[in-house]
């Protein structure tokens, strides 16, 4: 609770927190917030201006833009949640084993990380999609493959520094087993820093997902997703620019909110930064 209070003490972070919570709530309760089906095509209603019926108007297939925006939040945030969870699971296991075990195990796992770090996200995504076909699963796979190793390296570094701390030695002296040592004394020291990184990266991943969907490699039409919506609206850029503006704004606000939240979280967890002290 103290952390939350510190986090919310800054106005910008408070605003970002509210925005991020709003997007999360929208994603959770999308079906309740709009009575329209996001995939319901009605060509007689295409490219309608905002009205009482369609608050943000309709797109080129007569689908309700607001409904698609609300449901798009689900696809974007849902995929990012899966990506972040998978990255954390993989990198925490590999990073902590490498850092704690050291020696040959460390060397092997780090070379494995180096291999994965050589792939650029978009190229690997295209490669995977070329083999496995387009779809959200493959986009998630590609993003996880190109990002987990980066996290694993950072976690390994943190574990390396934490395992030599005296309180860890004291726990070993007391006869604590290796598994418990890692779970209780090392990972709790690693997690806050990794969570800050992950929060800062949520926006970055969301841009990846939307970018790949925009290229037609990720979420497939007619599923509502912000990147897909921008792609659909491309040809109406001069006549119906609002169709591009709404999903663009949604991506902008969400990415901004999570970035600012990550910054706020980093500052809240860093007591030195708070006082504007050392090294600043």
């Amino acid at each position: 609770m103290t952390l939350l209070r510190t986090l919310l003490s800054g106005r910008t972070t408070r605003l970002a927190f509210v925005a991020a919570c709003a997007v999360l709530l929208v994603a959770l309760f999308a079906p309740l917030l709009s009575s329209w089906d996001p995939d319901d095509i009605d060509l007689s209603q295409k490219l309608q201006a905002p009205s009482r019926e369609h608050l943000l108007g309709t797109d080129h297939l007569g689908r309700d833009v607001l409904a698609r925006l609300l449901h798009g939040a689900r696809a974007s945030l849902g995929s990012v949640a899966v990506i972040v969870a998978a990255i954390l699971l993989l990198s925490l296991s590999v990073g902590s084993v490498a850092g704690y075990a050291g020696g040959m195990v460390d060397a092997f796992l780090m070379r494995l990380c180096d291999t994965f770090l050589t792939f650029p996200t978009f190229i690997l995504a295209m490669f995977l999609i070329g083999i496995l076909g387009a779809g959200m699963t493959n986009v998630i796979l590609a993003i996880v493959c190109t990002h987990w190793a980066w996290y694993a390296r950072i976690i390994r570094g943190l574990v390396l520094s934490l395992k030599t701390r005296e309180h860890v030695l004291a726990a070993r002296v007391a006869g604590t087993g290796q598994f418990r040592l890692v779970m209780r004394h090392i990972l709790p020291g690693v997690l806050p820093q990794i969570l800050v990184l992950a929060t800062l990266d949520i926006g970055h991943m969301m841009l990846h997902v939307s970018g790949l969907s925009f290229l037609g490699l990720g979420v497939q039409p007619p599923t509502a997703e912000w990147g897909v919506m921008i792609n659909d609206a491309r040809q109406y850029i001069w006549t119906q620019p609002q169709l591009l503006f709404y999903p663009g704004l949604a991506i902008f606000v969400t990415v901004m909110a999570f970035n600012l939240l990550g910054d706020g979280l980093r500052d809240a967890l860093d007591p030195v930064g708070e006082t504007g002290g050392w090294g600043k």
Binding site: G102, G103, T164, R165, E166, H167, L169, A170, A171, R172, V173, A174, G175, T176, G177, R180, R184, H185, P188, G189
Partner: protein
Amino acid sequence: MLAVESLELEILRGRPRKVVRNVSFSVPRGRVTCLVGESGCGKSLTCLAILGLLPEAVRRTGGTITIDGERVNDLSPEHLQALRGGKAAMILQNPMSCFDPICTVKSHFLESLAAHGGNPGRLSPEVMPESDLARARRSLAEVGFDSPDDILDAYPFQLSGGMLQRVMVALALLSEIRLLLADEPTTDLDVVSQARILTLLDETRRRHGMGVLLVTHDIGVVARMADFVVVMHKGEVVEQGEVATLFAAPRHAYTRALLQAHLSLYGLSFGDEAVGVGTVSPEPCLAAATPGPVPEEVRLR
């Protein structure tokens, strides 16, 4: 109780180099053996080697370590883990950094208990069973805490260095240990806490009849506590013997220099009549090291 024979340790970084050479000594049951020497002479590494806790970059290349008849070198990792905190415990130098800052003292007790005969697997301090709690309270009372429950609920940063060092002794006393390794346990403490910890260690040793290996570079502490002294210099044992003999007639130049350096702090030297040339008694050291009984009003809880 503890026998170290021809211990050799090597640092592997860069060109391997021996940091501890041919070190042999023993710690009999119920007695205190002090390992003295300057910083970096290999005292702490020897201590870590005894519990099989050498850092990654250091390797034991020779010698044997026997605790209570068991050769530590031959033990499996599981047996070694059971030995640590079960038969032999260790008190580290800086009590402030030896406790996990995000865990209460109770969590630390719970963990030590889980490792040695407590209720395994229980990790939440809220569900600490009454029998474990009673053991923790008894142990804390033994090291002089009047209200163990307050200590159990405290986080490490809420306690002073002296109190934490006593908590560490209490943690060591959870099992019926036979050997206590104390790696400079008073270095980071103020003189009042130092005196308290030394008295506590001495009382505990007498009550439990355990052997104590006290690592220190403070000759005052040696004079106060030791039955036997082992002097290390540049990774080797240069002299060892009973404290009175060694202080009365130091044979090695380094031992003489060590004693001289200590005595000079108090304006004394081997040449002084009060001390007596060649027949240095531990008394001047002892007198300088013992601050006397701690007055009631300055005692910590």
